[in-house]
């Protein structure tokens, strides 16, 4: 006999999926996180274009050195036009940062960075590819609605817009951690520690130069030990995979963000990765729930207002009052618990907070 009704679990799943798609494609939500990424990407784009401009000031452009075309149909700009484009990119990045004509400025910055990137395969770096992806995601979003001069000019402030590009960026960010971690996981040389060990041996003179022999000796004794790298390498791989998956789930998201920040700081200290660390840490903002001021907070401390960049709280400062926070679900925290919770939601204090207690 053929069943005529769909099992309830399947119906629930379909309804939830449809609601999620409605939220993603039809329901406006706060784009504050995207605005923060925009503010991070502006200076990063300038920093990225800086060496090309420095070469241009010395009279050297991509036309004067080895160039390997991505595609033959990408037109080569004459040197003068190329340099002008770089300066236009810098100007657009400044406008992005301050949020003047935000969306158009982001598109222009993306166009210049992408054009420069696709002029030659020798311009390829993973961090530059990630920069282009982030610029594209931010440009697709109405990112000037908040934290911008554009927002100040609006008569009715409203930080909401369609956020499907945020989901696209989330996928891209997670895919990058996964691709990096998985490729190392299936490489016996990497996961077995051979790559890291050889690399450490080769660059130990840099550590010695930076720290001096007295400090470097005991550190290098550990770092260059084969056994240490045998342990560290799988830990590094597990870290990337944990970030890739853990960041999707509410219970593990804060831990994944904490690990990601530590991971990027570690990379920045140990390798030259251009703007990667800054943009990757900045891009973690996209994982915040896209709603603002939906928790109420009574606090005696005015500093919370200054540090609440993600607008997590509707804040009332009452001198002499005790801390009191009402969460989205109505849960009330008071005193030290409220203070601890607030610290977990402020970017500047998050790293040193008890985030694992308040997921």
């Amino acid at each position: 006999m053929t069943p005529t009704t769909t099992p309830p679990t399947t119906v629930d799943w379909r309804i939830r999926c449809r609601r999620w798609l409605d939220d993603v494609f039809d329901e406006p939500a706060s784009v504050r996180a995207v605005a923060i990424v925009r503010i991070v990407l502006g200076p990063s784009a300038i920093w990225h274009l800086r060496p090309f401009l420095a070469d241009a000031l010395d009279g050297v452009t991509y036309l004067d050195v080895f160039q390997q075309k991505w595609w033959p149909w990408v037109p080569n700009a004459p040197a003068g036009l190329y340099v002008a484009l770089l300066w236009i990119g810098v100007a657009a990045a400044v406008l992005m940062t301050v949020g003047l004509w935000s969306r158009a400025a982001t598109w222009v910055t993306l166009a210049v960075v992408a054009y420069n990137f696709f002029l030659s395969e020798t311009h390829f770096r993973h961090n530059r590819a990630f920069l282009i992806i982030l610029l594209a995601g931010v440009a697709l979003c109405d990112n000037g609605r908040v934290l911008s001069l554009d927002a100040r000019r609006r008569h009715t402030p409203d930080d909401r817009a369609l956020i499907w590009p945020v989901w696209l960026l989330r996928f891209e960010a997670a895919a990058i951690y996964f691709a990096s971690g998985f490729s190392k996981l299936i490489d016996p040389d990497w996961v077995g520690g051979r790559v890291m060990h050889d690399r450490t041996l080769r660059y130990q003179s840099d550590v010695r130069d930076a720290l001096g022999d007295t400090l470097a000796d005991p550190i290098l004794e550990v770092l260059t030990a084969r056994a240490f790298q045998w342990v560290l390498s799988p830990v590094a791989v597990a870290t990337e995979l944990f970030i890739a998956f853990g960041i999707w789930f509410r219970r593990t998201r804060l831990a994944a963000v904490w690990v990601a920040v530590a991971f990027h700081v570690g990379i920045e200290v140990s390798a030259q990765v251009e703007v990667f660390s800054v943009i990757a840490i900045g891009a973690l903002a996209i994982w915040a729930v896209p709603s603002t001021r939906d928790r109420t907070l009574v606090t005696p401390s005015g500093w919370v207002r200054w540090l609440d960049w993600m607008a997590r709280f509707d804040i009332t400062v009452v001198p002499g009052a005790s801390w009191r926070m009402v969460d989205r679900d109505g849960t009330v925290l008071e005193g030290q618990l409220a203070r601890q919770f607030v610290r977990t939601r402020l970017p500047a204090t998050f790293l040193f907070s008890r985030f694992w207690r308040y997921r």
Binding site: D55, V60, D64, V65, F66, Q67, Q68, E121, T122, F124, H126, A129, F130, L168, F171, E172, A175, I176, F178, A179, S180, S183, K184, D187, D189, W190, R194, V195, M196, H197, D198, R199, R202, A271, V273
Partner: protein, 133 residues
């Protein structure tokens, strides 16, 4: 999203891992011995990459391929470096008009892949048209 997944998968085929995000994939090293091959087959060494008023490092303008006469880190892996070098030889052949003698450039690349080796591969530029103004 589909395109990104495709690029990630393509990274296992593409030596450059473009948009496949496989950073720090190898700890390999390489060194290059460059020679000019003249029309009659004579092989002329190119010490430190300088010949006929040209300088390899200056023409390359990219740190990853500069100074390959001494053993150095293979940016993005050995396969990527060999591919870049292959294209660089062709580019050099096309952009050294004052060199009226060289038929083609040849590079002997000696490399260690993740400290294993040495392995040797030989690459060469396309033939140049000599006698062209």
């Amino acid at each position: 999203m589909v395109v990104q997944l495709g690029l990630v998968a393509n990274g296992y085929r593409d030596p450059h891992n473009y948009f496949a995000f496989q950073p720090f994939n190898e700890s390999s090293t390489y060194a290059v011995e460059l020679v000019r091959v003249l029309p009659h087959g004579e092989r002329v060494a190119v010490p430190n990459g300088r010949w006929e008023g040209y300088d390899w490092d200056e023409l390359i303008g990219w740190r990853a391929l500069q100074g390959p006469w001494h053993q150095r880190h293979a940016f993005s892996g050995v396969d990527a470096v060999v591919d870049y070098l292959d294209h660089a030889l062709d580019w050099m052949a096309d952009n050294t008009p004052n060199d009226a003698q060289t038929l083609y450039l040849e590079a002997t690349v000696t490399y260690y892949r993740n400290a294993r080796g040495p392995y040797v591969t030989v690459i060469r530029s396309h033939d140049r048209e000599l006698g062209r103004p």
